[in-house]
């Protein structure tokens, strides 16, 4: 077993060696610009880009012509939301209304805040305590001027999966576009733009064992979704996104998508078993451990737990050999605890104690067992020096104490 162990697959995943192998020629011998129409270098690059486009399209049940390459999912989210809102405004002459939920990724929330500053109206829906968005809230939020609803498929902090198909039925019936940030779900659980009636979807290569710096936006053609490009230039990607294509990155994304599609059915149950092994081990070794968010509706490799009375960053410092992340304020520049956990009604002290585990393709049972041992040992050590744990053991609930601040 090699240390440190990586268990932060919501943040990124390593490039699969098979993906790297597919990419390598496109840095050297096949270096052509896919937009060069006059020679074989360009033709070969274009051919590779189109093959990858078909592979990424197939992963999400789309056709190749519906895939627009971007630099990553943040750009995809911005292009989808601003592109649709700006097009609607151009058509109607009026700013429109958009709907999302409070636990979305910052790329969605901040793009929508930017649209608010331009005069668009945005509704940020509450989620339930299990982290899921109730489709009834979406239905209730729709207005005559609503142009788009944006709901992620699976959450990046908790792994909780939203009832996307139900939401898709509602938006389709209402004639409102549905954008989905499918970054965490595509390739991990079934995500299909037809079955879920999604009109725009943001995807990223590096969450599915592809390279960083390449993403895609699915844009439905039937019925056709129109949007205004954010980046002006040579008119690449049918005018949706100008800029020379990242050919090696795109080839890698294509290969990664093909592998995910071929291997997902075998990989998902394996990851679920590892996740449950991790969860069972932590719960067996420690008291006061709580899972944040729905367990039933969750990505197979995802686990978000709070180890009460222990602060997340201190725990990560203590468990040096396992790379995870935390919703604790101490790990964020803003010094605020996770807004996702907060939106779910998780109290701040529990958010400070949260750890996110993200298991992936290359994790093993041995690694999970080692992580369990380390976390149990270090949580106990930190609890021994936690005044809150001492209070709890003495029968005083720290939540009932009148703390001085805030």
């Amino acid at each position: 077993m090699k240390l440190p162990i990586y268990m932060d697959c919501h943040a990124t995943t390593p490039v699969d060696p098979r993906v790297l192998e597919a990419m390598l020629p496109y840095f050297t011998t096949e270096f052509g610009n896919a937009a060069s129409k006059s020679h074989v270098f360009g033709w070969r690059a274009e051919e590779a880009v189109e093959a990858a486009r078909a592979e990424v399209a197939a992963l999400v049940g789309a056709t190749a012509r519906e895939i627009v390459w971007t630099s990553g999912a943040t750009e995809s989210d911005n292009l989808a939301l601003k592109g649709v809102a700006h097009f609607a405004r151009q058509q109607t002459g009026k700013a429109g209304h958009l709907v999302t939920c409070k636990t979305e990724h910052k790329a969605v929330l901040d793009a929508l805040h930017a649209l608010e500053r331009e005069g668009h109206a945005v509704t940020f829906l509450e989620v339930e305590r299990d982290g899921r968005l109730d489709p009834a809230r979406v239905r209730a939020a729709l207005r005559p001027d609503t142009v788009l609803v944006s709901v992620m498929h699976a959450n990046n902090e908790t792994g909780v999966v939203h009832p996307l198909a139900e939401i898709g039925r509602i938006t389709r019936a209402a004639g409102v576009l549905l954008h989905c940030d499918a970054v965490q779900s595509a390739g991990r659980i079934p995500f299909d733009v037809e079955a879920m009636e999604v009109d725009l979807a943001s995807l990223s290569a590096h969450k599915l064992y592809g390279p960083k710096g390449v993403g895609a936006l699915y844009v439905r053609r039937k019925p056709r979704v129109r949007l205004i490009a954010e980046i002006d230039g040579g008119g690449h990607e049918r005018g949706h996104r100008s800029g020379t294509l990242n050919v090696p990155g795109i080839v890698g994304f294509g290969k990664a998508a093909a592998l995910a599609q071929a291997e997902r059915e075998a990989e998902a149950p394996r990851l679920l078993a590892l996740r449950e092994r991790l969860r069972a081990g932590l719960l067996a070794g420690l008291d006061h451990v709580e899972v944040n968010g729905s367990l039933a509706h969750r990505l197979p490799g995802s686990l978000n737990v709070s180890f009460a009375y222990v602060e997340g960053e201190a725990l990560m410092m203590a468990v040096k050999d396992v790379a995870v992340s935390s919703g604790s304020a101490c790990t964020s520049a803003s010094l605020e605890p996770s807004y996702v956990l907060r939106a779910m009604g998780v109290p701040d002290d529990r958010a400070h104690s949260s750890i996110r585990f993200g298991l992936g393709r290359f994790n093993t049972e041995e690694e999970v067992d080692h992580a369990v041992r380390l976390f149990v040992e270090k949580v106990k050590k930190l609890r021994d020096m936690s005044p809150l744990y001492e209070m709890a053991k003495a029968g005083i609930d720290p939540a009932t104490v009148a703390w001085g601040e805030e």
């Binding site: 304020a329 101490c330 010094l335 002290d349 001085g404 601040e405």
Partner: protein, 160 residues
């Protein structure tokens, strides 16, 4: 985040972790911070008749910097007079541990903890007061520790 060797040493091998009897007359207990803010520090001192801190113990819920800050001040207050301990400033702690700017509030908490522990000890030493005095502070708690001090709120708010 790049932490200093000293900080990592205190976080990994904290000194003087533990609990002194909060009811003992020669023990002062300071409990500062709040769980919702992600850090709670409890500093306890045992003070001799001559006013010298003979023993110091801490327990902290918080990040590595908070644990290191409290560990460090237990070492610093030991052997000092109460008056001398009160001269320890948060900036001294921040400098010693090379706290990054976002962690400076941990050192503020450590300074607050010293003040709160000394205040608790002084309250006990002053003994029962006439009516209207502070014999039974309104913030006394069942475990004998003082309620968390409301110090530092103004200083800390900018970094929150």
């Amino acid at each position: 985040m790049p932490y200093s060797t000293k900080l990592l040493d205190h976080a990994d091998n904290p000194r003087n972790v533990g609990t002194l009897d909060p009811a003992a007359p020669d023990v002062g207990t300071g409990l500062v911070g709040a769980p919702a803010c992600g850090d709670v520090m409890r500093l306890q001192i045992r003070v001799s008749e001559a006013g010298v801190i003979e023993e110091a113990r801490f327990k902290t819920f918080g990040c590595g910097s908070a644990i290191a800050s409290s560990s460090l001040v237990t070492e610093w207050v030991k052997g000092r007079t109460v008056a001398d301990a009160l001269t320890i400033k948060n900036t001294d702690v921040a400098r010693e541990l090379a706290l990054p700017p976002v962690k400076v509030h941990c050192s503020v908490l450590a300074e607050d903890a010293i003040k709160a522990a000394v205040a608790d000890w002084r309250r006990k030493r002053a003994g029962p007061q006439p009516v209207g005095g502070a014999a039974q502070p309104a913030d006394a708690r069942p475990d004998g520790a003082a309620a968390p001090a409301r110090t530092g709120a103004a200083e800390r708010s900018p970094v929150r």
